[in-house]
Symmetry: C2
Subunit: 252 residues, 2 copies
Amino acid sequence: MTEYIASPKNERIKAAKKLTTKKGQKQGDAYLLDGWHLVEEALASGLTPKTIYATEKFLDERALRPFYDQLIEISPEVAKHLSDTETPQGIFAVMPRELASLPALTGQFLLLDGIQDPGNVGTLVRTADAAGVGTVVFGAGTADPFNPKVLRAMQGSQFHVRIVMADLAPLIAQLQAAGIAVYGTELNVNAQNYRELAPQEQFALVVGNEGNGMQEALLTETTKNLYIPIKGRAESLNVAIAAAVILFHLTA
Amino acid sequence: MTEYIASPKNERIKAAKKLTTKKGQKQGDAYLLDGWHLVEEALASGLTPKTIYATEKFLDERALRPFYDQLIEISPEVAKHLSDTETPQGIFAVMPRELASLPALTGQFLLLDGIQDPGNVGTLVRTADAAGVGTVVFGAGTADPFNPKVLRAMQGSQFHVRIVMADLAPLIAQLQAAGIAVYGTELNVNAQNYRELAPQEQFALVVGNEGNGMQEALLTETTKNLYIPIKGRAESLNVAIAAAVILFHLTA
């Protein structure tokens, strides 16, 4: 029979709640997934959660059957305590906090240079996934991949693409040495119009901070820098929008 | 000499604060812009605010000179009270709450069918602006164009594109009668790959609700429905991302 926890003051629940903060995640070497879709994606990817906390209505889910040893039933009150959404679905998984290491330098890469907004970061990963880009690299100053808001916006795409944290400057040099063109992005009409590039099997695209764009020091290291011609009077595009427009062009 | 208001309890400030809510906006027939960039865009567009509330540091701004009659100085405390951001810039403008009426049916249109998230709605307007699309139509169920989060995400693009509220079903018929193709969007591989369309001078693109997509009743009324091929394992794209990918393709 599955264990049942009714109170948010239970020690295990206190420990699970800590896994929604950066400090707690480091200490516990784990993070908390919130919601059925994300838990399902994690299980479908062949990962084994350390623990699954679920309210009664999830107990009969077929996908959970192989994980009865990890399953603990919780009350709706506990679910509300664990979630940072207003209407939690009532299922959580404690996942090992692991990032991929850099893969062989082949294929398509999206490099994030200081993207601060968690929603943007998550949407960028989800968009890379949809475009078929295999690896997303989180550079310095980018929101943490285990930030709950990043996790929510990724919608499970972290289980489909490789997520890596790395210094971008040496990586750009390595990619180029491996024969992969690295495209920066800038708000500069003297940069190259992205539409002039043909779709390509291998490339790395770098996008920069919401307010300041890419670091100057990186802009000079890229193979080429691209811009998106703006026809109206908007001054710029949201960074995830800009990345999407270029990625879907290059992967067509 | 400019009037000075130090207290959030001042009656004019209480009235201004109400202009950040839907009910208050309807009663006052006005809304509140928050932040220098938005105020500057409004003034640059030739609009005259009813009132400008500004902290001391803005009083010498050149762009405000023609508006001294509308200018009231406020304390940082009042600025904090009026803003729904944590670190307000300290300048606000009370603007007449006006929407455009439907323009002559020519050019490019983006139609929003029940887009609920204010950030998505604002980003869609900003993206339409950048793509050179002239008119964005807010259909039923779409977040209000004067919602403070929508205003923030639009980043002033509401002063560059025409924003209209209208019933989408009759509008789609009118657009088609005027010879404009109306493209729906759906997550359906039997719909047409957007990449098969050539860029075009005139079109209307309809995007739908984040969870449910476009209304069935509208999908059957469009000229064609488009889809974006997904290469990875993401189940869908964010609605603003999807709109951007198609708009930048069609307006190339």
